[in-house]
């Protein structure tokens, strides 16, 4: 006996993407806000990648493209947040090192910490150096020299 196979049901109307699109657009807006906050927190540090490539806009993106944008923004936010957390931990260590250098210069001979190491703009640095050059080295007279000002442009 030959069984008659039922034809697959064809939807009479296409599914409405509008709700999904609105949700994705809201998510993109929220992630862009987080990225903007991170951008401000990161400044003036260098070496952070916060970029998310465009999609040849301005144009109405498809649902799949909106999902891609959302996912790339989320990845970028996640990476930037983690990189900033790592960097600020290192900066905190550098700040503590400056305090230790100031308390005990002799124990930190020739150490040098710059503004960049503590996440600040400018060219200031803390350098443990001997007072009066060789005499200071022989006598154990060490001090922290704080230098500020960037070298003149050549």
């Amino acid at each position: 006996m030959l069984l008659q196979q039922a034809a697959p049901a064809v939807p009479r109307t296409l599914p409405d993407e509008r709700a999904a699109r609105r949700t994705l657009l809201d998510q993109v807006a929220r992630l862009e806000d987080e990225l903007a906050q991170l951008f401000c927190s990161v400044w003036p540090r260098k070496g952070f990648s916060l970029g998310v490539p465009g999609r040849g806009g301005p144009r109405l993106l498809s649902l799949a493209e909106l999902e891609e944008v959302r996912d790339e923004l989320a990845t970028s936010v996640h990476h930037a947040r983690r990189a900033l957390s790592d960097r600020t931990y290192g900066e905190e260590q550098s700040r503590r090192l400056i305090e230790e250098m100031l308390l005990d210069p002799e124990g930190h001979k020739w150490l040098r910490v710059s503004n960049e190491d503590i996440g600040e703009p400018g060219c200031k640095h803390w350098h443990v150096r001997p007072r009066w050059s060789f005499i200071g080295m022989l006598m154990g007279w060490w001090r922290v020299v704080i230098s500020s000002g960037c070298p003149l442009a050549t």
Binding site: A29, E32, G54, G57, P58, R59, L60
Partner: protein, 210 residues
């Protein structure tokens, strides 16, 4: 000074995704000319208000942020193709000031920098019918020379696209030396208060009448 603000039509598909997107425009009897000293002075004063820190934090301000979000939602990377206000800010930092071009460009620069709202001008005599926002149709071109990709967001009159949203204005609809009547346009995105749109158009018009 009277400014008659009009709301442009928005294609249904576009309005479906962006219900608060809009284009407010106003006719203006003004001709392009060299900027008077008062306008150049205003540009200088405006440039002095921009500092590195202000530009960095600009993207967190409500109005510039709203256009950044809209850019991202329509497939633009706002860090590469900057929004008009960020373009002006970066130009100010790079060149140490805002260079005066002509009265129309200077008026638009002042309006954008003061409010963060993208404003542009069209030659009213080169427009046919009502202005609106819609998606580009297959095979359409801007000013007959620049092909538009399908579903690209454009400002259009009844006959053709006259500008790309947040982008260039077609040379067949833009303001030229021969322009006698203009139409000032301001793009509205979600999160931008109506007062900011009105203020942008008023500032541009007031500067053009200087």
């Amino acid at each position: 000074m009277e400014l008659q603000l009009e709301e442009a039509w928005v294609e249904a598909e576009l309005a479906g995704d962006f219900p608060e997107l809009g284009l407010v425009h106003a006719p203006l009897e003004a001709r392009p000319r060299k900027s008077p000293p008062e306008v150049k002075e205003r540009l200088r004063a405006l440039a002095d208000r921009y500092t590195g820190g202000k530009v960095i934090h600009m993207r967190q301000d409500a109005v510039p942020w709203a256009y950044r979000v809209f850019s991202r939602q329509v497939g633009i990377d706002p860090d590469t193709d900057r929004t008009p206000v960020e373009r002006i800010a970066v130009e100010r930092l790079r060149h140490g000031g805002l260079k005066s071009e002509n009265l129309v460009d200077d008026a638009l620069t002042i309006a954008i920098a003061e409010t963060g709202v993208p404003v542009f001008a069209l030659d009213a005599d080169k427009l046919a019918g009502e202005l609106g926002l819609r998606l580009a149709r297959p095979g359409e071109e801007l000013a007959g020379v620049r092909p538009l990709s399908a579903r690209q967001l454009v400002v259009a009159d009844d006959e053709r696209p006259v500008a790309i949203v947040l982008g260039e204005v077609g040379h067949d609809a833009g303001v030229t030396r021969g322009t006698e009547r203009m139409r000032l346009c301001a793009l509205r995105a979600k999160g931008v208060p109506p007062i900011a749109i009105e203020e942008a158009l008023w500032i541009a018009a007031e500067t053009l009448y200087t």
